[in-house]
Symmetry: C2
Subunit: 509 residues, 2 copies
């Protein structure tokens, strides 16, 4: 390849790397806010985040960047001018263009308004939630719905106004693709849940003990070590809500939440966030600054966390190795417990009001409720004032329980308050991808149970890295699914997995 | 005041506030680097710091800023155009102009070169120090000397090339003012040290015990609470070298270093950094974004930390209240120790090789050695290759000991490696200011011993806030000294304090 041909690409990369570095600073500000920042610093922290966000938006749409990108790819048609560019470079250019076309459609004034209104809506939500006062939050939510609909209009759509919002988080995903899939899933899950509700309950009282926080945190570190989450480029801290923030490929910040009375909350959080962390760590580091050094989508990211949390950390074989270690850490609480009883207890299915505490069977029902509601809000078939009623009605129908207050109902999640519409479905897409991937993983590693029962986890990480992590955004989520599994997106593996596992656990024939 | 007259000032403030917010982000990046950042993230952290620094330099010299400033003050003469501006506003304008004139003299290319060379020099220093190989560091140090001399030339000077470097950290301070002052101080301190060396030694073996880190950290928090360092807007963490970083008025980050075998290292560090923290917290918050919400100088900042560390935490009255609490925290190690013996032991004078571990009497001798050497390096009367010899010779003459290796000699401090010339003198200036301030404080609070002996410290903080903190940069350090004490800068109070205290301690008549 002639070197002069590489120059415009290198130039584009250089500009984009500067943006990526600012994005990593934005990530640090966010991480610090949730972990160590003194509470009194919140006011200026908002300004810090606003200034960096605004800088990033400017960088992404700067004339300098657009000129550099336009030299390599036709911004209108997507045609790449230089036939000698590598496959990797071509993929990067397509993703650069994808990002630019989205960013360019949003005027700076709109981005600022959205940021400002989100911030004020977020504060209103925090207060309204504390006071269980939906009415006080409603006008802010109305603004968020209106602005999101405006965002959809600015981004443009052919079929449904919810499409561009969904696509923002999950490239190329559409309302038309998700709706029937979620409908089938809803039928399968509600049916399974009904069967479980008739089965005898699983005893789990031994989990209701006091587990000292420092020992819990120690066990969390032990799990991350077993997962090969490299301590040189990551760290684990505590926060009110667990998260994983990949600041850049050599700095991944994980958090967990420690409840002294809830052992498994920390363990599943650590394995979940550890799955996200391995994805971030496994991205093609050498591509830092290009879109390829980013995860393929929110759903794909969630597939990695759920793979580890549900397909590894909720299995009997995993605990064959780790339960004795857990007993060693908490001898008073667990020494008299049998492994099999422990395994069954950590997989108890019980409809509950709160999404983040849901078991595997009910989890996606929580997500589907939110999807149906936000889709209706955006298309205008549901009014904000009718939200609590719609929420409670769906909870009753799908999960058989009704929140006694909006605090534990439609006010529980931060997403809408922050203007995040189209985000919720990615949680369930992640579960579906994970199930599809797991079937292939199981075929390639038929001895996975024996190996995890020996505490081996490196081969799991290696498989995920080889098939998913190393590509970053080189393939869209749907391309990746097709490539790894040879099949299109479908919920059947997820449903079969849940049915097989939970019918066996609850002795349902 | 007519509102249209306020507009240009508000406009200038707004621009400057944006810069201050970016500076606070720079502060967070630095804090995180020394506390929680995974080691593998160091490479990209350098880029993050570089980009934010460069952004800040651009903001400080942007045409928009210069235009806004130039509307209010004549950049050449310092004449303020609007006679109706308040005293506070006039002071802010003078400081804005001072900062701008400095920044504008340094071309962006020079700032970038200095940042790049400092970074590479810093890495070379770390390695050379580990290997005790001065020769490997020498070419980098030569570059730092050359660049610093170049910086002096760019900034300009009337008398001595060291002046603008000193003024960079301590506004209006000159080589001509410091040299005789340090000479007199050197004579007084070496003479006192000699007398002490002939006196019987003070027993301190009971301090050589194991003090569990978690308990030490707990005691650190207790001290900060007693000092009224507000936890809502500050926090204490651990780092390799203690520091205090005031990100902005509502976010102060302190660190300490915990040696399991050195109890007092943590205690003095916490009191020292706590003094810096109170200064930052006490700045005029409402002035955030103007230069007035900054400390007056490095020396003034150091006067606050040393005031607390030496004039409060090294006194018998302070420990009357806190020693029983310390004994309660470490009963095994300290229950049999008398308060008076403890007080004497923590004030032992013993020449040592390392500045940061020095006692009160030898501390400034370490600083004076560095001042004399760096002044000679900048004026060209000492060659870099002759540095180790010059260092060891001065150590022998002033302190009576000689380093057995450069690692514990001229390679011990980070400052020169990072291009910080003119910084060291501010450590001793801080001690001198503190002594001058203390004399006034003692006159106004003749009962300070009784009150601190009851654990009262709030009146100390209040006094410092009223006389120093609340003004920020409204007055230069010399103006502040004059204002608070009615005297000019002079070393006599510092010398008298040391002579009186240590002659009594060592029973020297």
């Amino acid at each position: 390849m002639a070197s002069r041909k590489k120059d415009p690409y290198a130039q584009l990369w250089e500009i984009s790397k500067t943006t990526a570095v600012f994005e990593s600073i934005h990530g640090l500000l966010g991480w610090d806010q949730e972990t160590y920042m003194p509470e009194g610093a919140a006011g200026i922290r908002s300004q810090e985040l606003e200034q960096i966000s605004s800088l990033i938006h400017k960088q992404r749409t700067s004339p300098k960047f657009v000129k550099a990108l336009g030299k390599l790819i036709d911004l209108k048609t997507g045609e790449i001018f230089d036939a000698e560019l590598s496959e990797v470079q071509r993929a990067a250019l397509h993703e650069w263009r994808r990002d630019y076309l989205k960013a360019a459609k949003l005027p700076v004034s709109f981005v600022k308004t959205l940021a400002k209104e989100s911030s004020s809506s977020l504060h209103a939500w925090i207060k309204a939630r504390e006071k269980n006062a939906f009415d006080e939050f409603a006008p802010h939510l109305q603004k968020m719905v209106t602005l999101s609909r405006k965002k959809a209009d600015l981004l443009g759509f052919a079929e449904h106004p919810y499409d561009p919002l969904l696509d923002w988080h999950e490239p190329d995903m559409t309302t038309a693709a998700i709706t029937p899939l979620f409908n089938r899933l809803k039928i399968a899950l509600t049916s399974l849940l009904k069967e479980i509700s008739f089965a005898p309950q699983i005893p789990s009282a031994f989990l209701e003990a006091h587990f000292p926080p420092s020992k819990q945190l120690h066990f969390g570190h032990l799990l991350l070590k077993a997962m090969h989450v490299d301590e040189k480029i990551s760290r684990l801290d505590e926060s009110a809500h667990p998260f994983c923030s990949g600041l850049h490929p050599t700095d991944t910040r994980l958090t967990t939440r420690i409840h002294p009375d809830n052992l498994m909350s920390n363990i599943f959080s650590v394995m979940h966030e550890g799955g996200h962390a391995l994805y971030n760590i496994g991205l093609p580091t050498e591509q830092f600054g290009t879109p390829l050094c980013q995860s393929s989508s929110l759903g794909m990211d969630e597939s990695q966390s759920r793979f580890w949390e549900t397909r590894i950390a909720r299995t009997l074989s995993f605990w064959k190795h780790f339960f004795p270690m857990l007993q060693h850490t908490f001898p008073e609480q667990l020494s008299g417990v049998y492994l099999d009883d422990f395994y069954r207890a950590i997989n108890v299915v019980k409809p509950s009001l709160i999404r983040v505490e849901a078991d595997e069977v009910t989890y996606s029902l929580h997500v589907i409720i939110r999807f149906e509601i936000e889709k209706a809000l955006i298309e205008g078939t549901l009014a904000v004032k009718d939200l609590p009623e719609a929420w409670n009605e769906k909870m009753r129908t799908y999960l058989g329980i009704t929140p006694s207050s909006d605090k534990d109902g439609c006010l529980q999640d931060i997403h809408w308050a922050y203007g995040l519409f189209g985000y919720f479905p990615t949680y369930t897409l992640g579960n579906i991808y994970a199930a599809q991937f797991f079937n292939v993983f199981e075929k390639e590693h038929p001895d996975w149970k024996e190996r995890t029962a020996r505490g081996e986890l490196e081969f799991v990480r290696a498989w995920l890295r080889m098939h998913i992590h190393q590509y970053g955004r080189r393939f869209t989520p749907q391309e990746l699914v097709q490539r790894v599994t040879g099949e299109r997106l479908n919920e059947q593996p997820y449903v079969s997995y849940l049915e097989n596992k939970y019918k066996a656990l609850y002795h349902i024939s």
